[in-house]
Symmetry: C2
Subunit: 306 residues, 2 copies
């Protein structure tokens, strides 16, 4: 095999009370990464479509991630990389993570799988470090593994997936305004009250047990965040209005995806999901803001060869 | 029915990362509360054995809890109450909660069950408020309901139980030194770093999913606390030594019960549990500290009539 084309899904991270800890991938939305062998030992980005991103291999997340993988193997091989991006960075849908994940997954295939999926996560995290300054895993891990993913600990890295209700649908609302992840990080408090903390881990206990026991009411009651959402929702135009539209149309819950501006709602049947989608979409349309909205299941496949 | 004798189990609360949110009851250890009707409308504490506690009905947690129940019903009935306490207050095993729970459960029976178990919890919480100044639910709820219990939210009160591995055993180590709950609360920080918070809800996700999927390793990795244990372990004599003894003997995890001085370990077979118990017990014995230690399953029955 000299060439491989990989799909890596976009992801929703944080998921209410799960700041920096939870994430899941979407279906049908993600980056395509084409990687082929070279005869020399260089990494070359041939083309990036769908977003204006650096082709400098020391700055592009995909090549930074590949280089981390090659360093771990002490390999000197070279590759050409082409990336077809689904969504530009700053959407809150883990755009940079898709490219890093697709790139290391593809190179691992071309090298005859020296690493398992889980073992590839830290290399993709190096891509995240290069783009945001922090090696977050809450987008790369779910994009790589598929399924509802928990990053219990970063040091040591402890990542696993949990069962969730098959019927669970995600309504994604992406208004095309940019929220810089870096800025969205900067406005977060570095300290929280113990009281807010207790609420947060209480909700985490509710969300995880709700997902694992198919209790949609409990999932909904638990999908709140005492830490990031109260601050970040101010960066998202019409947040309260969109939330109200979703909840009025019987969403199970509603919150921010990643650091925004994308928001999402959970629903448990496709008719309700479609009503939520169209009512939230309308809020932005009425206000003259370009918006992408769709309904997706939670992707269980993760990165895969096309 | 003019008289009823109720057993309400002692409990372990907090459970590592679950400060103020998690708790479970033990088997074979708890208060016996005997309640009988009176012809007048007064509450009278006839006898308390096993601990030196106020028989003043405005100060005793049992009668405070009963009064809260009677107020909710606008009832004027009177009762005699006798309490046989298993363990004195200040043990970290929810001693006051047992009495409140037993008392309201018994009165509810004598009144032909106007309330469900869950509905009784807020009355028992009033007992907690009178003894500690805060209406905590993390001891009363598990003692009342039985099983591994989550208090997701206090306002509104949202309480439920989750499945856990049948083989799970708790090794309880109670050194007979008093730790005042009030003081153990006072030394806690009112603010925590966001970093510690992320660790805490990451561990909560790990603990709940580990319990619900019978993953003992994950339960063990998640049974840590970034908030209370680092401060409170200093109030518990020989904490590090006891922890070391437990972990050396293959405990799944080890932490403080409630606000201490009781500690506990999880194990998944009785032979291992007995080794852990005897090695932890020895640490205190060697140091001339009186200690009660035993192995218990998680009680699934909660309060019940004897």
């Amino acid at each position: 095999m000299n060439e491989v084309r990989v799909f890596a899904p976009n992801t929703i991270s944080n998921v209410g009370c799960g700041y920096d800890v939870l994430g899941f991938p979407l279906e049908g939305l993600g980056d395509e990464v084409l990687v082929s062998r070279r005869n020399d030992s260089s990494l070359v980005i041939k083309e990036i479509t769908g977003a204006d991103l650096p082709i400098n291999t020391e700055k592009n997340v995909a090549t930074v991630a590949i280089q981390a993988l090659l360093n771990a193997l002490d390999e000197n091989k070279g590759f050409n990389i082409s990336i077809k991006k689904s969504i530009p960075p700053g959407s809150g849908l883990g755009s940079s993570a898709c490219s890093s994940v697709g790139a290391v997954y593809a190179v691992n295939e071309l090298l005859n799988k020296p690493f398992s999926r889980k073992e590839l996560v830290p290399f993709a995290m190096e891509g995240e470090r290069s783009s945001s300054g922090q090696a977050h895993a809450d987008n790369v891990a779910p994009s790589m593994l598929g399924g509802f993913t928990i990053i219990r600990s970063y040091n040591p890295l402890d990542i696993f997936t949990i069962p969730f209700p098959e019927e669970l649908l995600t309504v994604v609302i992406y208004p095309k305004v940019e929220v810089k992840t870096e800025y969205a990080k900067k406005i977060l408090p570095t300290e929280i009250s113990l009281k807010d903390g207790i609420q947060q881990w209480g909700n985490m206990a509710g969300l995880i047990s709700g997902l694992m026991s198919n209790d949609f009411d409990r999932i909904g009651r638990s999908l709140t965040d005492s830490v990031a959402v109260p601050v970040r929702k101010k960066l998202i135009p019409h947040y309260d209005e969109v939330e109200e539209a979703a909840m009025k149309n019987r969403a199970i819950g509603f919150t921010i995806s990643g650091s925004g501006p994308t928001t999402f709602a959970f629903a448990n049947d496709s008719e309700t999901a479609e009503k939520i989608r169209s009512s939230c979409h309308s809020v932005y349309e009425k206000n003259g803001i370009e918006v992408l909205s769709f309904v997706s299941k939670i992707n269980t496949q993760g990165a895969h060869i096309l």
